[in-house]
């Protein structure tokens, strides 16, 4: 680890801290339908959208209608994405003449993946998806699923803030205002900033470059093995050209991070020089992943009238973030002990450390930071392959997802995920002092805790069951590409990423199979909607309750003590559930690596 590395990490955290208040105030104003400086332009578009879609913007919904509207919207838009993939050959903006996305289970998997804000990718973008599918199908869902997430978080906050009422807002209004006020303006500016750094934005067919030095390469057959000629020698081909994939990347890149989606335009995601060409574009992408979620903590404080509670939650998130990034940075900077003769020392002249699967321009600090941030949030973009990280360095992203991505978290999803933990923390504190737990003036009762526990239990259940099946059955283990404990981690990571709606992967796993496409598609839908419905139930139930003024026996949720308790609940729930699985994967691999074992 170097001083410069830490400087970059702390600079990033300082930016997140700085944006929390202004963005939080802005979000609160947008969703309370107060005036903002963008109204002049956006109000007419908003009104037009309501007229076109038959929405009455003054209609208030009970939590059930809110949930049904959200489900209908997700269902319809998911079907449209499936359809677009299957007929992309007939649609415009397809200069590479890609055929329909095949097989059908891959298209289903991708549709489920993008609708749930997961962006798990069993395909490779530049060889599968037309520009139309990327824009109107995939990037569109980056907006839509993010807007749904923000709307839900706001609905939950309303549930806490409102008193003795049946309603928690209007889903369509929240959705539209998320898209128009929160997502679109920043993306317009951010996309152009990215282009200035070198992120491409065009509709060109792929370009062909004449290589400076033609290359002799082995001819590889369909089975991935070198082809041997009749004389027993491996056949060689001469490569003289380089095909350079292009596309409307910047417009998709920025919403990929700003909406914590994470689905790359290209297979290599934010490691690809056309998605993330410079250290500054890298910083902008990192900042975009955390900004809205950090802002929402301030919005929580503002809308519930307890600003210090918002900061207490922020502090818990920042603490867990720092713990993760320190571990990942330390592990990666240490390098791979199995490589003995090479120079892995980190210095100003070379990145050093574990550089397999990392880019020189990012080095170790920015790669470890990216891996931590992308999994603290439910983003899942990557700028280095987690599969090639050291065992402990790769365990950090895995654990982050296992903690349900509440460390700032996905846009909206991080906030309502965290509020579930807050409910549990308050409940546990109440048990300890022997009083009915209260949260910001609302009594937390049996129904609320049951719903919160439902969320907390379904998540590990689906992950562990599917991981267990895949680890012992041929259709699961056939996807493994790294033998030993690492292979188990590949499977565990996949299902954790799916259920957590993260979308990053131990990318070696060959997951484009019937088994993985269908189970991952299913688990992503469960991980998204099975969380949301109990969560909205709590919101509706809280809104109905009377306000109870705080008394001497109330456990305050604004103090450092609360922050510590909250961190404790997150770690205990997450760590205890998954520790056995972790010890079979990354922990075992770390110990064996230290003993010099290779597989």
């Amino acid at each position: 680890m170097t001083v410069n590395g830490w400087l970059q990490i702390l600079f990033f955290l300082a930016l997140v801290l700085l944006v929390t208040k202004p963005l939080g105030v802005f979000l609160a104003r947008v969703f309370s339908r107060e005036r903002t400086f963008m109204d002049l332009v956006l109000r007419p578009i908003e009104r037009l959208l309501y007229r076109l879609t038959r929405v009455d913007e003054n209609h208030e919904m009970r939590w059930t209608e809110y949930a049904v509207s959200m489900l209908l919207f997700s269902l319809v838009s998911m079907l449209l994405l499936y359809l677009i993939q299957r007929v992309q050959f007939f649609l415009p903006f397809n200069p590479q003449k890609f055929t329909a996305v095949n097989p059908a289970h891959l298209a289903f998997n991708t549709a489920a993946s993008f609708t749930t804000n997961t962006n798990w990718q069993a395909y490779s973008g530049e060889s599968t998806m037309s520009y139309f599918t990327q824009m109107a199908g995939l990037a569109y869902h980056n907006f839509a699923s993010a807007a749904v997430g923000i709307s839900l978080a706001i609905a939950f906050i309303r549930g806490i803030a409102r008193r003795q009422t049946e309603t928690i807002g209007n889903f369509w209004v929240d959705l539209v205002r998320s898209c128009l006020w929160v997502l679109l303006p920043f993306c317009l500016v951010g996309a152009l900033l990215l282009v200035s750094q070198g992120v491409v934005q065009n509709f060109r067919p792929y370009d062909t470059a004449q290589l400076v030095v033609p290359q002799q390469v082995q001819r590889v057959g369909r089975d991935g093995k070198p082809v041997v000629g009749s004389d027993g020698k491996v056949l060689m081909d001469t490569v003289t050209e380089q095909t350079i994939a292009q596309g409307p990347v910047a417009s998709q890149e920025i919403i990929k991070e700003w909406g914590t989606n994470g689905g790359g335009f290209f297979n290599a995601n934010s490691a690809h020089p056309f998605e993330n060409p410079t250290p500054f574009s890298n910083l902008l992408e990192l900042f975009s992943i955390f900004a809205i979620s950090a802002g929402l903590t301030y919005t929580l404080g503002r809308m519930t009238g307890s600003q210090r509670h918002g900061w207490a939650v922020w502090a818990a998130m920042a603490t867990l973030f720092l713990a993760g990034v320190t571990t990942a940075y330390w592990a990666e900077a240490h390098g791979n002990p199995l490589l003995i003769g090479e120079n892995q020392r980190v210095s100003a002249l070379q990145p050093g450390g574990n550089m397999e699967g990392k880019e020189v321009r990012f080095g170790i600090a920015n790669s470890a930071l990216f891996a931590t941030v992308t999994t603290d949030a439910s983003c899942g973009a990557i700028n280095g392959w987690h599969d090639s990280y050291t065992p402990l360095g790769g365990m950090v992203p895995l654990v982050n997802i296992m903690l349900s991505e509440v460390i700032f978290g996905g846009v909206g999803a991080g906030m309502y995920g965290m509020l579930i933990y807050v409910v549990l923390a308050v409940f546990i504190a109440g048990l300890m002092v022997g009083r009915t737990p209260e949260y910001l003036g609302k009594k937390i009762e049996a129904y609320d805790v049951k719903m919160a526990m439902l969320v907390a239990l379904v998540f590990p259940l689906v992950i562990l069951v599917f991981t267990a099946i895949s680890s012992v059955k041929g259709f699961g283990t056939s996807g493994i590409t790294n033998p030993g404990p690492h292979g188990f981690t590949q499977i565990l990571y996949a299902f954790t990423s799916g259920a957590g709606n993260n979308g990053s992967a131990f990318g070696g796993l060959n997951a484009n199979t019937l088994w993985y496409n269908t189970t991952m598609g299913f688990i992503m839908l469960v991980g998204r909607f099975f969380m949301i419905i109990p969560m909205l139930g709590i919101a509706g139930n809280l809104a109905r309750k009377k306000y109870v003024p705080p008394s001497l026996g109330t456990f305050p949720v604004t103090t450092p003590l609360f922050t510590v308790l909250l961190i404790g609940v997150i770690l205990i729930l997450g760590a205890l559930t998954f520790f056995p699985a972790l010890s079979l994967g990354p922990i075992l691999e770390h110990l064996l690596m230290g003993a010099g074992k290779v597989f």
Binding site: D207, P248, G341, E342, F362, G384, P483, G484
Partner: protein, 190 residues
């Protein structure tokens, strides 16, 4: 329910047109006007032919060129198939590949240990850069093959070394394609 279903259909269509089509087209139009070079991939032309992109690496072989990092994209630096090796840290294939590549490099320069970025594959498989240490490691070989002094090469390397952005972001790096093109221009191979 029925009314919300109708709204769901209409909302999907309306927002798809706005966010899925109008938005990217507007960004493209502005980007093509403001940053035409960047928006099209910073392509490099020589004698009227495209020879590569300043952002995308290429494989180089032969003693007279600086070599890029190994690549797992297609058959190597395939810019239509970006990928890393996806090899885990305890995978025998990784350890054997790195060890044998490092031994070959060590044979041509025994003065210093091999910088690790020169024997590890990048994440994209298209990394256009090597570290300054990796350039220095190859410097003598290149100068000998081109029959020029090491300092002449070192000067070019320095010109194509980018420091940390704004003085503190990212890592120092050398663009291999640009450096090799410049070498060919100033000190052509015989």
């Amino acid at each position: 329910m029925k009314k919300n279903l109708l709204t769901a259909v209409l909302m999907t269509l309306a927002t798809t047109i706005l966010l899925g089509l109008i938005y990217p087209l507007v960004v493209t139009a502005i980007a093509q006007v403001l940053f035409p070079k960047q928006a099209n991939g910073e392509l490099i032309s020589k004698d009227g032919k495209i020879v590569g992109s300043a952002l995308i690496g290429q494989t180089f072989s032969g003693a007279g060129y600086f070599h890029s990092r190994p690549s797992a994209a297609g058959s190597g630096y395939d810019a239509a198939n970006s990928n890393g090796s996806q090899l885990g840290p305890t995978n025998r294939q990784l350890i054997e590949r790195v060890t044998s590549d490092a031994a070959a490099l060590q044979a041509e320069n025994k003065a210093a240990p091999v910088p690790v970025d020169l024997v590890t594959t990048s994440a994209s498989g298209l990394d256009p850069h090597i570290s300054p240490a990796a350039a220095e490691f190859q410097l003598l070989r290149v100068s000998r093959a081109r029959r020029i002094t090491p300092d002449q090469v070192r000067q070019l390397v320095r010109q194509h070394t980018e420091g940390r952005q704004f003085g503190f972001l990212g890592e120092a790096r050398v663009n291999v394609l640009e450096l090799n093109l410049e070498l060919d221009e100033h000190y052509p191979l015989h």
